[in-house]
């Protein structure tokens, strides 16, 4: 869960995706944890659903994260920047990349129609299985898991609404014109394939669910309880039938809208800026502002760095404000650790003088020590 908060604080596209992996691993470990608790409580059904959910999420994560990284790469290749706050409106110039990124985002948020939904569904089932079948401690843990997964889901949606919205929608924040070149077929091909897998698992989950159940069986050695596959798949199929109903309703709404708008005036103008006549691209909401409210709520867990210019005089001419979220583990653990290692190695630098004779001497000493040690 920490991962997704940091991801929200990140404004560089690939870093954001990388932090987001932590959150997905969290979902996977939730599934694994339910599997192990299921084993401990001798509830094979719960255990198998948990393991299968975790395995399926591993696969799904590979697919949609791969898709997202590839499309992020495509964005960086076209625009030569990965700073989300510098981008915007790319859906028009990079339609393929944009729509593929959208599919990846919807999948990673676990929204229905896509594969993330299926594996998160399995993990939820395992957690609620725990609520029904474990003892009191197990129930409490399962309930905590449900809360965590719900929060993760909400935050993931937040994060990817930010990423997709800021990169691909609105207007470009740095240049007026953006004559970017879309990636060619060789780059698009793999992304389309991955996106197709996302949708395929999302709408026809039977194959992958039974596959991950079998894998779970092989790994853990617990036989899949009879009828479990049906127990999982029947609700899923009903869920998908609801989704198809939603598609039909959508089609009806589209047709109604088309019919109603046929005889009516449809105009295109600038975005309504509450009367302001000269909107510019830099006045758009940025990724940092978008993520600010939620980060403020979790401010005890995060370290902010805000730089701001002081306002002088009555009509301040120039000021600036920049904020960033610091990674606690990076800045307070790894940085000092690496710093110490570097310092220490610096102190020992004299050993490595660069003369071959000296190195030969070292080897001789080393061999001598080995010899003495062996003789003892």
């Amino acid at each position: 869960m920490g991962g997704v908060l940091y991801a929200l604080g990140q404004h560089e596209i690939k870093k954001l995706l990388a932090y987001h992996s932590i959150e997905n691993i969290g979902i996977i470990t939730l599934g694994l944890g339910m599997g192990m608790m299921g084993q401990a409580f001798h509830q094979d059904t719960v255990a198998m659903i948990g393991y299968a959910g975790a395995l399926l999420h591993v696969f799904n994560h590979a697919v949609f994260k791969g898709l997202l990284f590839l499309s992020a790469g495509s964005v960086i290749r076209a625009t030569h920047t990965g700073e989300i706050d510098h981008l915007g409106g790319l859906l028009r110039t990079l339609p393929w990349t944009g729509h593929l990124f959208l599919i990846g985002s919807l999948s990673i948020c676990g929204l229905p129609f896509f594969n993330g939904f299926i594996s998160e569904w399995l993990v939820y089932q395992a957690l609620w299985g725990g609520v029904f079948h474990f003892d009191i401690l197990g129930i409490i843990f399962s309930c905590l898991g449900v809360a965590a997964l719900a929060l993760i889901g909400g935050l993931a949606a937040y994060c990817f609404a930010k990423a997709f919205g800021m990169i691909f929608l609105g207007k470009n924040r740095s240049k007026e014109e953006s004559p970017y070149k879309e990636s060619d077929y060789m780059l698009r091909g793999p992304m389309v394939g991955l996106a197709a897998i996302c949708v395929w698992i999302g709408l026809f989950p039977a194959v992958m669910v039974s596959f991950s159940l079998k894998t779970a069986q092989t790994v853990t050695g617990i036989p899949v309880p009879a009828g479990l596959e049906k127990l999982i798949l029947n609700p899923l199929l009903k869920a998908i039938s609801v989704l198809f109903t939603a598609v039909i309703i959508f089609a009806v709404l589209v047709a109604l809208r088309k019919f109603l708008l046929k005889a009516r005036p449809v105009r295109e103008t600038e975005t309504w800026g509450c009367g302001y006549a000269l909107p510019s691209a830099r006045m758009q909401y940025t990724a940092s502002s978008f993520a600010e409210p939620i980060l403020r709520i979790f401010r005890t867990l995060l370290v902010f760095k805000v730089k701001t210019g002081k306002l002088k005089k009555h009509f301040p001419a120039e000021t600036h404000l920049s904020s960033s979220v610091l990674d606690v583990s990076e800045n307070m653990f790894f940085r000092p650790l690496l710093y110490w290692i570097r310092e220490l190695s610096g102190r020992l630098n004299w050993i490595q003088s660069g003369s071959t004779q000296r190195y030969l001497l070292y080897i001789l000493f080393f061999l001598l020590i080995l010899l003495i040690w062996k003789l003892n």
């Binding site: 889901g153 009903k238 309703i249 800026g273």
Partner: protein, 313 residues
């Protein structure tokens, strides 16, 4: 063919009930607020007029927008209606129900919200960006509370479908687990206020202040699209409201008309309560809203503890 056609018929019936009754709730809220303000107020059917009027209008689109802006209201409304299929109403059984449909229910709302937020960002307006950002913030918290409430109800009713959660013998459970259910009801009521952007989370009446959430997100929508958005919101309020009413008023007589009457009066009562709250309270300061939602989460946790202790687990 027989069962399929009857299933389709029941889905259609369900959807038409939802569509016919949902704007009524908004009308009652409006009337209550007018009463408290000492006005006569618009008629109860005013929301129907509003939607019909908007459906007959043309649209204006920003040059900045893409297809997402145009499709989002329809996607949102379709998702909300599909979620409605899972919800039973007084005498009407849910046409489709299955183990775990609560997840689908919550995630369909999530899908609707995701696309509305994207549509808001699509315009590139900073007003709408702000609204979108706030909407996402509060929904993160309310989703946690929602899932915790579902868990408590699941624990109580031993079921994981919406119909099971509220369709069983809730009236019997009120004797045993009354305190827990009370907490669930309060917590769910807070979620309902937040999800439907009512006071004290959001003020649906303001339109161009920097304080609002939902209204500002749809600033650029007009005509048919705006009608869909309004209608979708009314449907959402109706669905969540009837979930709440089914817990509060679980009386089941064998008489369909009696059930329906009880249910409808319950819904009207709920609308009046919302109206009273909106008349009596001001909107909370924005940085106070998370506390409200966190208290919804905490109430759900207390309900969970009471259930564990009293339920003999």
């Amino acid at each position: 063919m027989g069962p399929t056609i009857s299933a389709l018929m029941s889905i259609l019936l369900h959807l038409s009930v939802i569509l016919v009754f949902s704007p009524f709730i908004l009308g009652v809220i409006g009337k209550t607020k007018a009463f408290f303000a000492g006005r006569w107020g618009p008629p109860v059917v005013q929301p129907y007029y509003d939607i019909l009027k908007l459906l007959r209008k043309g649209s204006v689109y920003s040059t900045m927008t893409t297809w997402i802006f145009r499709a989002a209201p329809m996607i949102a409304m379709a998702a909300i209606l599909a979620a409605g299929i899972l919800m039973p109403f007084a005498g009407l059984k849910a046409p489709i129900q299955f183990w775990g449909d609560v997840v689908l229910f919550a995630y369909l709302f999530g899908l609707a919200r995701f696309f509305m937020v994207l549509a808001a960002l699509d315009t590139g307006s900073s007003f709408e960006g702000m609204g979108a950002s706030r909407e996402m913030t509060f929904s993160c918290l309310s989703e946690v509370a929602l899932f915790l409430n579902f868990t408590v109800l699941a624990l109580i009713s031993k079921s994981l479908s919406l119909s099971g959660l509220i369709g069983g013998d809730v009236s019997l459970l009120w004797h045993v687990l009354g305190p827990a259910l009370t907490l669930v009801v309060i917590s769910f009521f807070l979620i309902l206020l937040c999800e439907n952007s009512r006071i004290p989370v959001d003020d649906p009446a303001t339109h161009l202040e920097l304080t609002m959430i939902h209204e500002v997100m749809v600033l650029d929508h007009s005509g048919v699209d705006f009608a869909y958005i309004l209608y979708g919101n009314a449907v959402k309020l109706f669905i969540l409201g009837s979930f709440l009413i089914s817990i509060i008023l679980p009386f089941k007589t064998q008489n369909v008309f009696m059930d329906t009457a009880v249910y409808l009066s319950g819904m009207t009562g709920l609308a009046v309560v919302i109206g009273v709250i909106e008349s009596a309270m001001a909107r909370l300061r924005l940085n106070r809203v998370p506390y409200l939602l966190i208290s919804a989460v905490i109430l759900a946790v207390f309900a969970f503890i009471i259930t564990l202790v009293r339920g003999g687990f």
